[in-house]
Subunit: 156 residues, 2 copies
DNA sequence: TTTTTGGTTCTGCAAATAGAGAACCAAAAA
DNA sequence: TTTTTGGTTCTCTATTTGCAGAACCAAAAA
């Protein structure tokens, strides 16, 4: 029986943030675990803390945690003389997660380029619009990393 | 029986682009319809063209088309003395679709702000990292519309 | 050596998604 | 007035997803 407690409002916030996380491809249970580790006053929670607070089964908890570990959204520490793992949000990696999100524009872009390259020349106007899209995406992809750097600089 | 034809390679490209479209929340059939209207040499396809080329049932075709119409990914024209609707990709709206994609960073951001505002002051370092994230997102949200404008200018 | 702990894996089910096929329907054509 | 066209809507089914519960397991503790 874990002693870690969480308020009703915090739980609601976990739901809310969980929904946000569900958007970009996280399944419900994993999204809530990720959210919990951002909202909770106690930053490092054990398997059972998580299970009890979120009312999940062991299997769901295990799967959610391992999924989040795999994509590096969370990490864990251990404590001497304690077999448990203490999970916490991997905030340091969030910036990369954000960058990666932007980067999949590039995937879209490359497929779109393929489409442009094989279009019939007969539809000139359409092709031009499409090329414009490709060019816009490429432009954004170039500029965004620059923005990241700019921001880094501005805060130092 | 429609006369519009499409090559084997184009069909494969439809699949490929369709997968890209499935990512951001389009269901398979709709994603393929959207993709087809970008790949096809003939830019304006009828209900039955689409149905036959993609081998969909009438219901699937109808639902996919209406979904895409609702989110303005496609539009249609009519021809005098012809009851059919001719569907085509709404390229003009793509830029907006892209912008909207960026904008949902803002939703994430506002929830994250809520989280920051109610965190215990005890976890100073963590809170600072979180605030940094919020600030980074805000920064990106400010800069991105500027980038759009900059690009518009650069091509004129 | 047996028991407990901290999980993982397997089995199964309930709900959600996706699409087929047929029935249906209103407007236009015959 | 009847038929055809261009779809829409309803019903049903296959598949996928998401999770519970129980069985299981290796390492550590007793």
């Amino acid at each position: 029986m874990s002693t870690v407690k969480i308020t009703e409002e915090q739980l609601q916030l976990v739901e809310k943030l969980g929904l946000v996380f569900e958007g970009p491809g996280l399944q419900p249970a994993a999204a809530r675990v990720a959210a919990l580790l951002v909202v909770s006053d106690t930053l490092e929670l054990t398997f059972d803390d998580i299970r009890e607070i979120l009312n999940l089964s062991k299997s769901a908890t295990s799967n959610a945690i391992n999924l989040l570990l795999n994509v590096h959204r969370i990490e864990y520490i251990t404590k001497p003389g304690d077999r448990k793992r203490y999970f916490r949000s991997n905030l340091a990696r969030w910036k990369n997660v954000m960058k990666e999100k932007f980067m999949d524009l590039e995937k879209t872009n490359s497929v779109l380029k393929e489409v442009v390259d094989q279009r019939t020349p007969a539809t000139k106007e359409f092709n031009q619009s499409l090329e414009e899209m490709v060019s816009l995406m490429r432009f954004m992809n170039q500029q965004i990393p620059r923005l990241f750097k700019e921001w880094e600089k501005s805060k130092s």
